[in-house]
Subunit: 437 residues, 4 copies
């Protein structure tokens, strides 16, 4: 992933040193578990552990890999050389009875869990920001829009609450995906436990905080990883939905919101007057990327026989890239929410712009309550509405010209249909239910 979209917190989970460190953690924990059986002294395992975090593995492994073409073999060589003499029993029993995937997939689970934790924290922070903003705007009126067209009045806080609810759903998805991915596998080649029993695997994985794959092939089955990617994609789609909304509400004619615009920032190299929602546009593009990665992950499920290695190149690229991008997206959008300029007056101005048409349903229902058949009432209201578009006069006045309306309603009754506050009657209840108020 390119630096521009990378936060250090996520990147360091995926760097070579971290990956090799996790692999050694698995090897060391395994050695601990067979230590008594094979007579591996604790001090030697400590020597092995001391290689982790020293920052010197990646370079050496890469060198060895040039010959063997196999990264696990290369790591074993590097470790063996480093511990030669110092920890002979470790050198002897390192990786004993394991196959590469035992180490790789178990280490990957550790990495994925960390990545999931970071994303979960990201969503929590964003959800909190959304809740705060929603609470603040529980009574800020704007127009609700469907099909891009004015529909009925809407408290801005309710719109934000729907984002909060979607954030919560994505939190749950990531938490669930975290569980689904927290499975390791130490059952040897082709997953047959030919060289040690399931109990040994169970004991090692327990120390690592992972669960054993119920029936592995040689690898942890890739539907787990594909499911993880689906959670990433759904998260990205959520951000895309929110960002799209900000873009819409920042358009010149609407201008109810503006994403933060830095001091000294230039909107355009040519047009000095521009303030563009580029942060949110950028987020929409990134969502496309994450969807693409998720697609590739689905194709990884159908590995051949007890495994082939076609998933590996996908995961080397897409797992870091997708988690790095989503982490960036969460962080960036949280920034947008926290710095969001909300133009409440303009919201109100836009709401008034449709000349009262947004109250049409209330008129319809009132006429029905007064005994006018629905189809008839609909026609009456639609006619007055279309006339309002045409002549640009208040909807209420157009209605009052209609005999059918006058026959059913007093002027006061008609007026009551245009009471904005009635539309907010349930807002606080919904926000409470959502845990925002």
């Amino acid at each position: 992933m390119i630096e521009r979209y990378t936060r250090r917190e996520m990147a360091r989970i995926w760097d070579d040193e971290a990956r090799l460190g996790k692999m050694l953690e698995v090897e060391a924990t395994f050695l601990e578990a067979i230590a008594r059986l094979k007579g591996v002294p604790k001090a030697e395992i400590k020597a092995l552990r001391s290689l982790v975090g020293a920052g010197a593995l990646a370079g050496k492994v890469k060198e060895k890999e040039a010959t063997s073409g196999h990264d696990v073999v290369a790591l074993l060589q590097v470790v063996s050389e480093a511990l030669e003499g110092k920890a002979p029993t470790v050198v002897q029993y390192l990786h004993y009875g394991l196959t590469s995937s035992d180490v790789l997939d178990t280490a990957l689970a550790l990495q994925l869990r960390e990545a999931a934790d970071l994303l979960i924290a990201g969503w929590k922070k964003l959800a909190d920001s959304l809740a705060a903003l929603a609470a603040r705007h529980a009574g800020t009126w704007m127009v609700g829009r469907t099909h891009g067209v004015h529909a009925e009045p809407l408290p801005f806080g309710l719109k934000l609450a729907s984002w909060h609810a979607e954030a919560r759903r994505n939190l749950e998805r990531l938490e669930s995906a975290r569980e689904k991915i927290s499975f390791g596998k130490l059952s040897g080649a082709v997953g047959s436990y030919a060289h040690f029993p399931p109990s040994l695997e169970a004991s090692v994985l327990k120390r690592l905080g992972l669960k054993p794959e119920p029936v592995a092939t040689q690898v942890v089955p890739r539907d787990r990883h594909a499911e993880f990617f689906q959670a990433l994609a759904l998260s990205a789609c959520a951000i895309e939905r929110f960002a799209t909304e900000v873009r819409h509400l920042q358009r010149t004619e609407v201008l109810e919101l503006e994403e933060p615009f830095g001091k000294g920032q230039k909107g355009s190299s040519a047009m000095p007057h521009k303030r563009n929602p580029i942060l949110c546009e950028n987020l929409c593009g990134l969502a496309r990327m994450v969807r693409g990665y998720a697609m590739a992950a689905l194709e990884d499920v159908a590995l051949w026989h007890e495994r082939d290695i076609s998933h590996s190149s996908v995961e080397r690229i897409a797992l870091p890239d997708a988690t790095i991008l989503l982490d960036f997206m969460l962080h960036r959008f949280t920034g947008v929410v926290e710095g969001l300029n909300v133009y409440a007056e303009q919201m109100r101005r836009n709401l008034d712009r449709s000349l009262g048409l947004v109250f049409s349903q209330k008129v319809l229902l009132t006429l029905i309550d007064k005994g006018l058949p629905r189809m008839k009432a609909y026609d009456v209201v639609q006619r007055a509405a279309m006339e309002t578009w045409r002549v640009r006069k208040p909807f209420r006045d157009n209605l009052w010209l209609d005999d059918e309306v006058r026959r059913r309603l007093s002027e006061k009754e008609l007026g009551k249909c245009f009471d904005l506050e009635a539309y907010g009657r349930s807002t606080r209840e919904v926000l409470k239910r959502e845990g925002i108020l």
Copy 2:
């Protein structure tokens, strides 16, 4: 979806009549809830309910829709005309305060739940077939393959158990997706509950067995549906994995399995000798389709403002098509499993074909146990293995030519490395853990 891949059981969930029936179910249940308030007699609601299942709605609605361009409006017109005179209060209060999406999305939830139930039943049946076959072949030896290359011995039942475990995971996913999709929404235009309170929605949805969307826009948020599609895609990928395996094991050189081949069936119009795994190939193609649908569903999440209707065309096509295909896939693959020809002797023959190389790791570990350093031991074994490929003589013999081996092992000790049964030591335990034995 085309007839060829359609089972009636799923198709009827999605036909127009069923859809309109579900919509009327929602309208009727809503009327029941406001019956006391608005004075709607029970008998009238019964009259409304009697329109469902009569099989005459779809044609009439389509006719009306030609004018109004709006399917819910058309349905209301048809119902109003049908009940005119007979149930005047229903005609009066039908759809009172509702917006189309209240009805459409709630009805869709009912359809999706039925579709999910059918798919869950399909997976259960398939899982049972897999369990039975796995149990039967707990002791059937074959070679485990990684990268398409012989790896180590594997009980065929263990391979099947890994399918069973993946089936279980997909069952869970569909059960979870069923919950995620069992949300209705009766909060009116833009989701503001402007014309009736959340308590009314709660009461209607409870009768329908659905939960209320915590914070809706005008629609149930589309991340729920996208998540449902992800579950479908993961299910399809699982079938693809299994079907790919059958295809591999049916290739002429391997021929350990054959999918059922009907009496009178022709494998090729040109080559009378052919028996091809066409059922499984077909399933692989269908998995590609389901993935494609899932992709489209992800793009539906970011609807504009309180809703736009771009998701509708996707759902009209992809929801029936994807569920119909997956239902077909589950059913077809269950048939493949149940009619599968298992050639156990050929499995054994193939296992023997690699001249004992599949026991190489056991030799390696034994040499290590005897004190030979791992790297050294690896070289000894690899050398003998490569020689085996070259001269096509038993691996064991080649090993016995090696001084290093002779120095460490007796002939009997070497022989013990080639004990097949040792590789099956944990099979029954794993199958029990998986609930198969």
Copy 3:
């Protein structure tokens, strides 16, 4: 594909009868080519041809297929039975030396060519409509928008011309894809020409207007079909771009365009005042579907060995569905263009809404021409622009308050920067270059 999105013209290319007819056309043409060699009388071949178009094949073939599980074999059986006695030599030599794919893929090429022709005609019609509308609005001013924010003045005709140019590119793509797909294949099993020479294939395909696949496997290679799908997807994306624009310009605050709204049409079941861009929203959804199909087609390329049949289920579904949808999209969007309501006055009103800011670049360039360094000039103009947003006073007035501006420009020179017509200087030239004027 569902009826709602299906035009008869495209559907009939793909129905079973048409497909079987094309297959018989291939078989008959092949028989003609070997007629002299094998002594097949012309009258008999005529009898074979007379089976096509009688509308009775599909049902019978389906019946036979239930036993043989092979559609080509079933067709051969039906034909043999129909011609038994009447055309014995045809029955004898029918399909002689051919493999199913020879017939299927060659027939498919004929279908694809027809489908492509229909789509090409659809794009031409749409391009013509766009050209006519663009010409009509060469002088209609609106604001050009980037990032959804007002940028600079733009003739509406120029926007439409960019659609026309994209239409032309897609026309080219489909014409190119039509060529790429117009390849047949009659080289027998595994494509080896074992039973007849390339010259025979050449002669048959020439009669059918197709080219021979240079090196086939048993099938025409699927990259051709995948490429065809890519052209469909790009076409769909173009319609999505145009439809998205209409949706934007129909939003209440902008309202510069409205898609046709039928007499008697209802915008909403709840809100009688609504006129929503549902046709265009629907098109955006359909574009997602076509992209999904294209994805599946890419996965069909890597067939195994000389062929497997996994592509078949994808093509049975996605080729009809994708071409039917695109055909529908082209037709529907042409209707939108032809019935488009263009509100030129509102365009002008919106253009004026940004208080002259859209001329900011012209002011910048004029200041540069007057010797003010660019960075300096940019700051001057940006400052006045931001002030304009803030105080909602004409940009020009804000500029005229700036000493730097006054030092460099006379009031008349500043005024010249706000000359709208200068922005249209090149419009006619561009439209002519594009073939519109």
Copy 4:
């Protein structure tokens, strides 16, 4: 993209310095074109050009961008500061009347052209390797397989020739995509040529070897880039097809091919006997990635209005990543072809393994020629074939037990059906037609 899959040749086209260099090339060429009009001395433009390639731009631009949030503005600032005093007229007129996209999209076209050239060279090299190998194996017999099952004899060279043909098609696609992407755009904000005429654009682009976009918005329309991505995806799918074939042919039971296996290479950390087709498996995974990128690119087409910037993040990531991966794939697969181990004897052994069944069609056709009706003949041959599977005796012997066969054929005539060379009659002609011989 990660280093592991990156060749320097492609990476350097995309690095920041190269990108900024191309942008300055556009700015400088533009200045040359207006030099006479605006009085910009040649020496000054030379000073501007001298900034390119000095390797110092990227760092400085990044620093400036931190404030302005706009990379083009940042570049202009860096250049202005560097040339201050030295080239005052350049500083004055730099970027005069241009909008960022004029520079960015035109520079991007230059980068894309270079990337395309490298990929074209890669395909040419691979095509040459394939041609050489195909020519060498024009007479090497193997079995052709359909559905993974033995079909008819096939010269290995013919299989390779089909790869060559697909390589040629992809070459054409990339050459075509190169043309489609070689369009620049210098028409200013919203593409209206408001500040200079099309003739100026034409003159600048001509110097850069690009064509002018017929009707641009503010940007070069993104269907061009999406089309480029489709060509990349199709190329990747081709490599996937070839690599999949190698994987199949390297499986233990088949072992007709092996990809190069380095001296010192380890196939497995656990099983010393393994030689796995990991290079080809890896290529299959990478193809999934490229498909995912292509999907994202399709979503970039529908930008809003005269542009939004959502495509930018996609392109910053996916254009380098997809071209780098494809470049790597081409290079790696060329290595596989050049180092491919071809086991011709094993091919022959496998061909013989189906006991003569691969000649079944020839027997069928001969019986037809002898007057046996096709359906009848098919049954005779199928019966003998199924018996051959069952009893594992030569197909020919089973046929000779059949009365119907004996009635029609002499033993010699039957024998002629089993003549391998007859299957290769057209091979040289096809290879010549393909330009291989």
